[in-house]
Symmetry: C2
């Protein structure tokens, strides 16, 4: 496939720990319900899955935030749970509620029926990637993504969201053998899924380990991190000669940065509990260092623009002046520490993006 | 007041970082819905607040887990939100749901009406403390407690539980001056409340900063930790010549142990995400070290007893051999990393408590 040349490579350069003239910014869930134009498209589509499975709608909503804000990356509009849906678990979203699976995976018989799904069942995702990449016309790079093996398993066992992860942890502590089988299948499925996104045009891929942080120390390393590692090991390093950055975000994983240092990826996402300066010292420097992505509290966006400006400056300053000049060094990709809230005033996002660009240029200039 | 002499001081000794022959264990929310006898008493009482405000019922349920298990401490049966209730916010619990306040604190006018409540409104709590202490008859020490200033503020602003803390964080980022006023009042109220519990017979006091972990780095230090510090500074050091240990538990606070090292308290509670060995190295040793309390995942209790035994051994071993001999050193108080689930099989708690006592004796013997 051939696409238009990239006009803004700031995000990709920061992923690869190369110098940029400003700190790139994008927002998790940037195409979402806080935008009235998103709600209008979703209403036309009838349901969340109707939106996610329609190539034209998925393309339309992916580009909506870029029309409003000078963001430095686009992210595929989809859901983290498309892979277990393709495994036959029956994903749905009731209006105003989280995801639900029609079938769950809770015992040996359930696990016996699980397999890496035929990637043709996810063709709608890959078609959306190609369509979005074309529609972007080189404005900014396109990020593909998937849930992590552990995060998918949480939903597959619980059947939906949970506030205590009782069922999935009961299975993990009672039958670790079954949990490892689920996770191995998930890892191989996620790897195939992300590779197909890369082949379809994704210029970077991100693994969302949204629920890794609910695990105990020890269990995180064995049941989440090991399978993220298994995904990363299988991913295409390049596509048509271009390096494809790999990003990993474990919500609540700040305590395990030491463990994540050895992940074979380019960037680590951080939530707002992490001090960026400390994270940079731990994993941001040196030849094996990672780019750091994050980490403002999405609730900052409910404050007035002047307060948003102050908080943005604090986050940028806590990371410090990024690497400048030739070669590789510590770099920062600005983002929220979690998905943007549906209640966010859209004009506050303008204030945030503008503040990131302005303050990050000031920081580089040493003012 | 005079009470029976204490027969089992293992918990208090461990708080004071003195050697013990086994690792003491108690469980957050050990008097709770997983016990059928608790449910029977609650049914008699009619409601949660009916239970908490009745001295006889509160005494009865506090002692129930001690009849079943050889726990090393009792904790006052009450709720973390009694203080804002006494401020006039109207606390209630619908069956099967979390706490709700009839009135919330969201603007300048709301804050203007807030004040440290008359402690007489909390007399039912202090009477319960004295009654429980009498009923314990020296078997184990009694822990008093309160929610932290920040955790109380979360509920006071949100009006109940929350999954995003949008309202309280909006106030914090928009009007930090108002938030600081709420927190200062809360801190002074919590200090008076805990001092009255000490005077009524509590032999240790614990501050539950249940929602400190939802704050961003920086905000945690300014809006939670600073006010926990303000509480601790006002607490009675001794009562009738006996030292009263002070414990602080910030759920999700593992990243901030360095900041908590300087808290004027004896012990820090940890959730299951924290590696106890690393926490011990950071804050457990040296003259200003803290005892560490925690931190098994409550979901381990859904596994079969053999798996519980293995997980208990792992937690004890991750802390390592506690201080032995004269003087002070690193000590461990075994607990869950959060309150026990209402779905826990009661016989699994027996397996856990027995495993803590057995493995911790083995660990001390060096086997």
């Amino acid at each position: 496939m051939s696409f238009a040349p990239l006009k803004n490579d700031t995000f990709l350069r920061a992923c690869l720990r190369q110098a940029t003239d400003h700190t790139p910014v994008w927002l998790m869930r940037q195409a979402g319900r806080y935008l009235p134009e998103y709600c209008a498209t979703r209403a036309k589509a009838g349901s969340f899955m109707g939106l996610a499975t329609n190539v034209d709608y998925a393309t339309e909503v992916t580009l909506q935030p870029l029309e409003r804000y000078p963001l430095d990356a686009a992210i595929l509009f989809s859901d983290i749970l498309t892979v277990p849906d393709a495994m036959g678990l029956g994903l749905s979203f009731a209006l105003g509620e989280g995801p639900k699976f029609a079938r769950t995976v809770r015992n040996e018989a359930d696990v016996a029926t699980l397999a890496v799904p035929d990637m043709d069942k996810l063709r709608y995702v890959f078609d959306a990637v190609t369509s979005i990449r074309r529609a972007l016309d080189g404005r900014v790079p396109l990020i593909g993504f998937s849930g992590s093996p552990w995060t998918l398993a949480c939903y597959m066992v619980e059947g939906g969201g949970s506030d205590d992860y009782r069922l999935v942890k009961s299975l993990m502590y009672s039958r670790p053998d079954l949990m490892h089988r689920i996770l191995a299948i998930n890892a191989d499925a996620v790897a195939a899924y992300l590779n197909a996104q890369i082949e379809a045009g994704a210029q970077a891929v991100m693994v969302f380990d949204s629920w890794g942080g609910v695990l105990a120390d020890g269990a995180f390393q064995d049941f989440s991190l090991a399978y993220t590692r298994r995904v990363l090991a299988q991913l295409h390093r390049t596509h048509e000669g271009v390096e494809i950055p790999r990003l990993v975000f474990t919500k609540g994983g700040g305590l395990w940065l030491d463990d994540m240092k050895s992940l074979d990826c380019h960037a680590l996402g951080l939530d707002w509990t992490v001090n960026l300066g400390r994270a940079r010292a731990l994993v941001g420097e040196g030849p094996q260092g990672k780019a750091l992505q994050g980490n403002i509290d999405p609730n900052v966006l409910f404050a007035p623009p002047a307060a948003i400006d102050t908080q943005v400056a604090q986050v940028l300053e806590s990371f410090g002046k990024p690497h400048q000049g030739e070669g590789q060094g510590a770099t920062h990709i600005f983002n929220l520490g979690h998905g943007i809230s549906q209640y966010t005033p859209p004009e506050h996002v303008s204030a945030l993006v503008e503040a990131v660009h302005r303050h990050s240029r000031r920081l580089r200039a040493g003012n």
